[in-house]
């Protein structure tokens, strides 16, 4: 079957099997940022944005998506020009193996669009369907709070434990706001 959709702002047509999921189609066509972690919709590593909602692409049949608007991690910033959410994850060291991170960032992106200034409980609630095995979530929560600050344009430093992108701090325990203690 042929599926027409808007992917990362481009109109595209994909050839797909009826049984394919959105994740199958994305990965078969080179959009490998979304990861396959469970195929049952339980880990969130495959999270992408469909019609402004975070969606676990591994359980979303492609056949339901004709005409949909899909955004993947590939549509965010580049390594030279990161999206604020991406920068916040980098600067807060909110990643280790990285397998969950594209999904986590897409989920965070939707959260921050819907609620630009979430408190910690709201962040924890919004991210609760995206698992991470490496970080204990601590730095991820910090990163989302930081991204919220960055996107609000209030400051270009982390709200909690993060640092200036060009930090040259000399090995101290950086305190709030990236100040060299």
């Amino acid at each position: 079957m042929e599926i027409e959709l808007t992917l990362n702002d481009d109109d595209v047509t994909f050839e797909a099997a009826r049984s394919d999921t959105l994740l199958d189609v994305l990965r078969d066509n080179g959009y490998t940022g979304a990861k396959r972690g469970c195929d049952t919709g339980d880990c969130g590593f495959c999270t992408v944005i469909v019609d402004d909602e975070p969606v676990k692409s591994c359980i979303r049949p492609i056949s339901q998506l004709d005409g949909a608007e899909v955004e993947t991690i590939e549509n965010l910033g580049t390594q030279d020009d990161l999206d604020p959410v991406q920068s916040a994850f980098v600067d807060n060291a909110a990643l280790q193996c990285g397998f969950c991170i594209p999904g986590m960032i897409m989920r965070s992106k939707v959260l921050l669009e819907e609620n630009p200034a979430p408190d910690e409980a709201e962040i924890r609630d919004a991210l609760s369907e995206n698992l991470c095995r490496c970080t204990g979530y601590e730095k991820i929560i910090d990163a989302v709070q930081d991204a919220s600050t960055r996107m609000g344009g209030e400051a270009d430093v982390a709200a909690d434990g993060g640092r200036l992108p060009d930090d040259t701090c000399g090995g101290c325990d950086c305190l709030d706001g990236g100040v060299d203690g």
Binding site: A93, P102, R124, S128
Partner: protein, 813 residues
């Protein structure tokens, strides 16, 4: 802090003194290894993780992301036993083979499938684990044993074909409990004749794969004396831990193909590329030179990928299908058919004086290996060997371990490697002693615990020869002090409601840094014209940031930024040899090789600078991408040296360095785990207010990455303490089929946590570093069990700690 300091019996004192002499306190530390914080250019700085940007853009490539590079890639489905014990008497493959786009169906009889025993454990050669696995199996020993495999044009076709296999079994009685498995008349799971097992104490008729015991002093005499004397107390406790899944984010994945040179090339999610290459070579009778194992980005390992799970069958399938094949395990397979943390039952007896001085420790551990033996003896040994060194001053210590087979999933290596099971017992037991003697649990530990300058003999308790490990750095006292303050140990306020009780609990922790005397790390570094470097190491970065730390170490030596050191991912064709990412060894072992290699390259830089500046090599130091004369202040940039070394008129030579590192040293990191809990005595429910972990990992080479290790490990440790683990029905079928059946904490239910880094300096480690990857996974089970004990007076010693168990124990009180 006092220690038991009574004289030891004469013969023993002699032995110990020889070990003392062999491990002097003095250590001939390399120059410039010890740097004050303000002298460090990049180590102990929070440098950005070198792969961070490609991870957040989705460009980081994991094994399955390479699939698109193989247009004719086939995919496979492994067919697994659905009975726990028996023999496959027939497999009818005809219907599957008749399907379109099915390339091959493999069974144990297929010529591409080796019919040799091997171990999946990715260990040093010769592997201590028994060779008891076959790639595909006729005799099946757990629900999940691979019995056949189908390779087809795509995964769906392979799965459909796999469902068409008609399998006939002869079913045997099965056994799922270690005590029952050792009892007379239990079903025998392995035949000794089918296994190559060099582990001591194997008795397959009792389903025992290994048994070892060791003793320091005279434990029986200590207990006999305790019976005679009123001032000595005997305390006995029992502990139990369940299966735990690694929950690796990236399922085990391998792509195997023959390349244009007719060599096997595997892109695989492995922690041990070199061991895998060697083990595949032996298994398939292919020369080592004809196998290349490439490690792409890895979606974490935690020990799960310290072994060959998908590689052998993928290689056989590629041969059968005559094209590239990818095997990507499912999450369901990850839970029951890959590897898990092994359950353990531990008993611990002690003799202790009225003042709280330990006179004897007698520890017995029985671990459940599941159906096969990878890491069986070594993990079971570690249950005692890892935690007991905390109390190495105890004059009489005995430890016995027994690794037992059952018809349950295969246990393997798992972050902590037996230490979490052992810490629950040892650190839970210490609180029971404190309770019995009415002592403060921290004071009891401080009286007995190991400290800097001491000789640890307990870690050698299972060795044939006398063994000692000098403790050259130990920040435990400060870890305890900082953790105690952070958790608020001394000012816990009781809730107003009578049924709520709040208490802190704590546990000390210890691990090692590599396997002493049994590791090798190597590194090679070469300079580019522009003064940047390419570093090749066998360090296998599986997510924690080893590549970043290796770059920091080299950059510190060479006077450049970490971004100027490009670290290549490990690949057996390119990287120098390395044992792999396990045993908390990478920073300590491979990091030291990187440091030496960078120093080797620096020698060449000084030679060029000497010619270019006409000053003696002894005058030079490195600074800001240049070689600087400390005598005259003259300098030459690395870029100038780079061009001169390659295109100059005088001497041309590529600036390179190389080194290997292995050592008998394995310095333990230390840590103190604290938790703060309120327990509802009416329901048994509890709330974890905070989890504080203070670690001494020597010099933390990258504090961001160290905190990441602590936080991720506390998450795992909390899950071990409170999660249901993997459960099975009465026939041994797993009931845990996916994440939704498993209690992995999410952002919504992960309790708060605080990590504290206490800096010490380890003279044997690169720039003072010790390990940190495993140690923080040891503390939550005993600390939580101790907190519940202090809050409501009941001891939950069998994990998980649940409201139901607390309630039930309170009702029994």
């Amino acid at each position: 802090m006092s220690k038991t300091d009574e004289p030891k019996p004469e013969a023993e004192a002699d032995d110990t003194s020889s070990v003392e002499d062999a491990n002097p306190v003095e250590w001939d530390e390399a120059p410039n290894n010890r740097k004050a914080p303000d002298e460090r250019r990049t180590v102990s700085h929070r440098e950005e993780k070198s792969d961070a940007k490609k991870i957040v853009t989705g460009e980081a490539k994991y094994a399955a992301d390479y699939a698109r590079e193989f247009p004719d890639l086939a995919e496979a489905k492994i067919v697994r036993s659905d009975i726990a014990h028996g023999v496959v008497t027939d497999i009818d493959t005809s219907a599957a083979e008749a399907m379109d786009d099915v390339y091959a169906v493999l069974t144990p009889d297929s010529p591409e499938v080796p019919n040799k025993p091997y171990t999946s454990a990715g260990q040093s050669y010769p592997e201590p684990s028994p060779w008891d696995l076959r790639v595909l199996r006729r005799k099946v020993r757990f629900v999940g044993d691979p019995i056949a495999a189908v390779v087809a044009e795509d995964k769906d076709t392979a799965s459909k074909a796999a469902r068409k296999l008609d399998v006939t079994y002869e079913e045997y009685d099965a056994v799922f409990d270690t005590a029952e498995a050792m009892a007379p008349g239990a079903p025998q799971i392995h035949d000794a004749d089918d296994v190559e097992n060099h582990q001591p104490g194997a008795e397959y008729e009792r389903n025992v794969e290994a048994n070892m015991a060791g003793e320091i002093g005279d434990v029986d005499a200590a207990f006999a004396e305790a019976e005679e004397r009123d001032d000595l107390t005997v305390i006995e406790t029992e502990w139990e831990t369940p299966y735990q899944s690694h929950c690796v984010p990236e399922p085990h994945t391998t792509i195997a193909h023959r390349d244009e040179d007719n060599r096997y090339h595997l892109i695989s999610s492995t922690q041990v590329p070199y061991h895998t290459r060697r083990q595949l070579s032996h298994l398939f009778d292919v020369p080592i030179r004809d196998i290349q194992v490439s490690k792409p980005r890895i979606g974490a390992g935690f020990g799960s990928k310290q072994g060959m799970i998908t590689e052998p069958i993928t290689m056989a399938l590629a041969e059968a299908a005559d094209r590239p094949v990818m095997v990507e395990t499912t999450r369901r397979e990850q839970f029951h058919a890959v590897r898990n943390r092994r359950p353990a039952r531990v008993t611990l007896r002690s003799v202790v004086t009225e003042d709280g001085d330990l006179r004897a420790l007698d520890m017995d551990a029985v671990t459940n290996s599941g159906a096969y033996g990878p890491h069986g003896m070594t993990v079971a040994s570690a249950v005692g060997k890892k935690p007991l060194p905390l109390y190495t001053h105890t004059p009489n210590i005995r430890f016995e371990m027994t690794a037992v087979h059952t018809n349950l999933p295969i246990a393997g290596a798992y972050r902590g490697y037996g230490a979490p099971q052992g810490h629950l017992a040892v650190e839970g037991h210490m609180d029971e002693i404190a309770h019995e003697l009415d002592l403060d649990p921290i004071e009891l530990r401080s009286r007995n615990v190991v400290s800097e300058g001491d000789l640890d003999v307990a870690s050698g308790i299972l060795k044939d020869k006398e063994y000692g490990r000098r403790i050259r750095s130990c920040g435990l006292e400060e870890c305890i002090a900082e953790g105690r303050a952070a958790i608020g140990w001394d000012d816990v306020e009781q809730p107003d409601a009578d049924h709520l009780h709040r208490a802190c609990g704590m546990a000390l922790t210890i691990q090692s840094s590599g396997v002493p005397g049994d590791e090798l790390g190597a590194a090679h570094i070469k300079m580019n014209e522009d003064g940047s470097f390419i570093l090749q190491t066998g360090a296998v970065d599986i997510g924690p940031g080893a590549d970043t730390v290796m770059a920091q170490i080299a950059a510190e030596v060479l006077g450049v930024s970490p971004e100027d050191v490009l670290v290549q991912p490990s690949d057996t064709d390119i990287s120098p040899f390395d044992h792999g990412a396990y045993a908390s060894s990478t920073t300590y072992i491979t990091g030291q090789a990187v440091k030496k290699a960078a120093e080797d390259a620096r020698e060449m830089l000084f030679e060029f600078a000497s010619r270019m500046l006409d000053e003696p090599e002894s005058a030079f130091t490195v600074d800001d991408e240049a070689i600087v004369s400390e005598a005259t202040g003259q300098s030459v940039s690395l870029e100038d040296i780079g061009y001169e070394s390659m295109y100059g008129d005088e001497v041309r030579a590529h600036v390179m360095g190389e080194a290997s590192h292995c050592t008998e040293e394995s310095p333990p990191p230390f840590g103190a785990q604290f938790v703060d809990v309120t327990v509802n005595e009416a329901t048994g429910e509890f709330e974890m207010h905070d989890m504080v972990y203070a670690v001494d990992c020597g010099v933390a080479l990258n504090p961001d990455l160290v905190e990441g290790q602590i936080e991720g490990a506390m998450h795992m440790s909390y899950e071990l303490a409170t999660g249901d683990g993997i459960t099975f029905d009465a026939d041994g079928r797993p009931e845990t089929l996916g994440f939704r059946d498993y209690d992995m904490p999410t952002t919504a239910d992960q309790p708060p946590m605080t990590s504290i880094i206490v800096e010490t300096h380890e003279p044997t480690g690169p720039f003072g570093a010790k390990s940190v990857a495993e140690i923080p996974v040891n503390g939550i089970p005993p600390a939580l069990s101790n907190a519940v004990r202090r809050a409501v007076g009941v001891r939950i010693g069998d994990l998980p700690i649940t409201p139901e168990k607390i309630k039930s124990a309170l009702d029994d009180d």
